[in-house]
Symmetry: C2
DNA sequence: CTGGATCCTTTAAGATACTG
DNA sequence: CAGTATCTTAAAGGATCCAG
């Protein structure tokens, strides 16, 4: 039963993918639909083009986001979630509600010094 | 409805907590029960005492693990999960099964070049 | 045994200017 | 508009030695 090690690795892998400063923020924007590069740059406040590109490439390479180019006058690129990417949403939602709850608990503990 | 920002923050927070190279590994050992420092050092292969201490402190500070000292001849310290920490298990399990599935898909895509 | 302190290397991230 | 390149800083992690 040492596929535990295996699972550990996958877990670490996906945590690494989702970790970092920007991934979640970017994904949360893409859950509302496709976005152009510039849109993302605007909406993911504080990110630099270099970081945005890097993160998008990361996500693209594991097929969580999709990149589509249009040969318009100034080139247009749209990013969107793949089917795989969409399956991530419930997970993220659950994690979110856990974190949310966790934060509340944590706060109430700190404020319990009355 | 900009509690979205709030949720994003909690998500990032917990992802940061769980992220890094060792947290998950350590937690997965603690799910089997309390462990002494040395036991963890042995079981979490490759970790240095410095890292182990740091990670344990991180987890302790957010009340996910519990630290209990015993005034034995050479001092003994036992680490275990708190109630909060235990609530993390289902989340981790779900994440794990997702990652697992994701990895399989990903592999089959790569091998589909027949 | 448990853990702190120090030094060093590697990786993540930020700023900014530049090209097709 | 979309993306690169370069340079710099900050943070994570590793190695090792030391102390209660």
């Amino acid at each position: 039963m040492n596929n535990c090690e295996n699972k550990l690795e996958s877990l670490q892998f996906i945590l690494q993918v989702l970790g970092g400063k920007w991934k979640i923020h970017i994904l949360s924007k893409l859950y509302f639909g496709k976005k152009r590069f510039k849109e993302l740059e605007r909406e993911v406040t504080g990110i630099s083009p270099k970081m945005l590109i890097k993160e998008l490439k990361d996500l693209e390479s594991i097929k969580i986001v999709n990149r589509q180019t249009f040969n318009t006058v100034p080139i247009t690129v749209e990013y969107s979630l793949t089917t795989e990417g969409l399956t991530l949403k419930p997970i993220l939602d659950q994690l979110m509600s856990w974190s949310d709850n966790f934060m509340k608990e944590h706060q109430s503990v700190e404020n319990a010094s009355t």
